[in-house]
């Protein structure tokens, strides 16, 4: 089996799991203008942006000869849960002979879930599968810690760009780990790498912390969100996202009796504004805005794909939350029209406003 998967965030992780099961893995190229162009060409016009990017990278993967795509499903009400079905039809219509394995929640169709697991498991024993999953999970947990740390210290680096070079090295370290011992070594090495970054001393009062909330794909995939974390880092802001892959796994795939995740708390904080889960990450979005405020952040940037169903509901409510909790929020809607300059200007102005507010210098 020559396998590919959707490109989102730290792809090392999916690659690792499939590799451990002995598959030949093709990592689709990092989404580029070409990916977006392909995606736009073969998608329905009003499909959401992540849908278009993902089909674009599937097409690129198919061109590289994959015969299987592994992805996750869902049960709505957000469109993302149906991506796989439409992607499959589009790829077949284009003439690619490719099997799309879609993992839905286990209780939707148990038999199919097991069948899918068996397909991915191949000839490996169940024990090996369990071990592979366990290892990947540990790796994911560890790598996310560094992902967070990098974006915390990035604004204070003495040598511009050193934090990002460190992040590339760290990903490589993790990429070469295939067992527990190697993972531990990768973690130790990564700590060393982080510690070797020289940092400027900045007064606590001058630090600016920005939270990023919104739809998971545009929040997590830097290649399509103008590398917003990097941009903010360069503007001197610490950044934390509402979404990290390990947290998604904890919240969505862990059995509920083990579930004491931060996300549960966050959902409670959002309850006042959006009463029930309405799909996607709308409720998390509003909850995280409150949460970021409670944790002393100075501002929030809300990212959503153009015309995203659930995020439009949160966007409608955000002005009120922002007012009630006294935290500035900037909504950016992202699509294939990559007019970066416009968004960058808005981000810069937003950060200026926050900085002035913080230093008590109000510009009238």
């Amino acid at each position: 089996m020559k396998v590919a998967f959707p490109y989102m965030g730290t792809v090392v992780v999916y690659k690792k799991l499939l590799e451990l099961l002995g598959h030949e893995v093709v990592v689709p190229p990092r989404p580029s203008q070409k990916t977006i162009d392909l995606g736009v060409k073969y998608s329905p016009e009003f499909a959401c942006f992540p849908f278009k990017v993902i089909i674009g990278s599937y097409i690129e993967a198919c061109e590289m000869g994959v015969d299987t795509i592994v992805t996750s499903g869902g049960h709505g009400p957000c469109r993302a849960g149906f991506y796989g079905e439409i992607h499959k039809r589009i790829l077949h219509k284009m003439g690619y002979d490719v099997d799309v394995i879609i993992f839905d929640a286990i209780n939707r169709d148990k038999d199919r879930f097991i069948e899918n697991v068996k397909k991915v498991k191949g000839k490996n024993s169940w024990l090996k599968l369990a071990k592979a999953i366990r290892f990947t999970y540990d790796l994911l947990k560890q790598i996310d810690v560094f992902d967070k740390e990098i974006h915390r210290i990035k604004p204070y680096e003495e040598v511009p760009g050193s934090a990002y070079r460190a992040w590339q090295e760290i990903q490589k370290e993790f990429d070469s780990a295939y067992d527990k011992k190697q993972l531990k070594k990768a973690v130790d090495r990564s700590k060393e790498i982080i510690n070797s970054i020289r940092l400027k001393k900045v007064d606590e009062r001058e630090k600016i912390r920005i939270g990023i909330v919104g739809e998971i794909y545009v929040v997590m995939e830097p290649s399509i969100n103008m590398e917003i974390e990097k941009v903010l880092g360069e503007l001197g802001c610490e950044v934390e996202r509402s979404q990290y892959l390990s947290e998604w796994v904890d919240f969505n795939l862990m059995p509920s009796f083990l579930k004491k995740t931060h996300e549960e708390e966050v959902l409670k904080k959002g309850e006042k504004y959006i009463e029930i889960i309405i799909g996607g990450h709308a409720k998390q979005t509003v909850g995280f805005i409150v949460d970021f405020k409670d944790r002393g952040f100075d501002g929030v940037i809300h990212l959503m794909p153009f015309a995203c169903l659930p995020e439009l509901v949160s966007q409608s409510i955000i002005p009120k939350i922002s007012k009630e909790h006294d935290i500035p929020v900037l909504t950016l809607s992202i699509d294939e029209q990559t007019g970066k300059a416009n968004n960058l200007t808005r981000i810069e102005a937003f950060i200026d406003l926050i900085r002035n507010k913080k230093l008590g210098k109000f510009v009238v």
């Binding site: 009400p77 149906f82 169903l309 409510i317």
Partner: protein, 346 residues
């Protein structure tokens, strides 16, 4: 007490139920005006720019009701009316959007969770939140649900006999008695696929129904077909859509495409409608496979009807020519005529 019901979204499906329900509870029911330019503009001003036009219209209707000095506006939280399926996120977050997003609505929104196993939403438990808020006894609530339910079933009965929603609402309000199915002498029959609030709000769709009538075209919509019939066509899908009304349209669409009972299909959709972006793709694939003419009409808050007139006329003309040719040469011409200008049809 004065209750406002917005004449938007599912009013065109559950209106007869809700109106009767509140009347039975001895309230004065105020239905908002027909959608008009002024009302739509109010809605646009109060909503985020990217949201779909049916929601903007709904918000406009709520603002209209506030001006009519109602005590409450009824905004149900539609969650599910079919097992394993839900409504579009915007329906599920509609009360939140109004309460926290539109000024002056905070104390005006009267809401309840609607969850049911079928189209029938008359279970009184759906409305308990309302009873609590207005301090109504449960037996009164139960009775109101029962009476409203009867009326709603009658409305659906007319609807399924081939009378479209507006006709059926009219008939049920005036207690018209009918026995047989609606008859028509038209030579062209189209399948029209669209949500009730796009199909039957004559402002947003610029009177599509009248245009079809003036062209002497007969049409059939999903609401005229029985639920079990609609489901038949999507039961064998690995995974149907998540949204109940989208699935109804999908079932109706597949029926139209596969049963050969219509001459062409028009899909009416709102700009930026998420579920329809996928639904439309499934129809396109189906049209490719069955060669049945298919056209999408996308509506939004802009009003310029001439293009619509032209497109519908051209579509119907093409179908009439195709039929004439088929009749002339018998089996010689098979399949459809390309919508993109196949010269053989001219």
């Amino acid at each position: 007490m004065k209750i406002g019901i917005p004449k938007a979204l599912l009013y065109y499906y559950y209106g007869p139920f809700w109106k009767t329900f509140f009347e039975e509870l001895e309230m004065e029911v105020v239905v908002s005006e027909d959608t008009n330019k002024k009302l739509i503009n109010e809605g646009i001003k109060a909503s985020v720019p990217e949201i779909c036009v049916p929601i903007k219209i709904f918000i406009g209707h709520c603002i209209d009701l506030i001006k009519k000095d109602v005590d409450y506006i009824f905004v149900p939280r539609m969650i599910s009316i079919y097992k394993g399926e839900v409504f579009c996120p915007k329906f599920m977050g509609l009360p939140d959007m109004l309460i926290h997003g539109v000024e002056g609505m905070e104390d005006k929104v009267l809401t309840c969770h609607i969850e049911s196993k079928s189209d029938d939403i008359s279970d009184y438990r759906n409305y308990i939140d309302i009873a609590e808020k207005l301090a109504l006894p449960h037996d009164k609530l139960k009775k109101a649900c029962r009476v409203a339910s009867e009326k709603w079933y009658r409305f659906r009965e007319y609807n399924k006999k081939g009378y479209h929603v507006l006709e059926a609402i009219d008939m049920v309000n005036n207690s018209v008695k009918i026995e047989s199915t609606k008859r028509s002498d038209s030579d062209v029959k189209l399948g029209i696929l669209g949500y009730v609030y796009n199909m039957y709000d004559s402002f947003v769709n610029m009177n599509v129904i009248d245009k079809l009538k003036s062209l002497n075209v007969d049409f059939i919509t999903f609401d005229m077909i029985d639920e079990s019939e609609l489901r038949k066509y999507i039961d064998d899908m690995d995974k149907a859509l998540f949204w109940t009304f989208s699935n109804k349209l999908l079932g109706a669409g597949y029926k139209f495409f596969r049963e050969n009972e219509v001459d062409g299909i028009i899909h009416i959709t709102a700009f930026g409608c998420g579920p329809d972006s996928f639904l439309g793709k499934l129809f396109e694939i189906e049209s490719d496979d069955t060669k049945l003419p298919f056209m999408t009409i996308r509506v939004d808050e802009h009003t310029g009807e001439n293009h619509l007139q032209t497109r519908i006329e051209a579509f119907v003309d093409m179908i009439r020519r195709k039929k004439a040719k088929v009749m002339q040469w018998g089996d010689k011409i098979e399949g459809s005529i390309s919508l993109y200008g196949d010269s053989s049809c001219l």
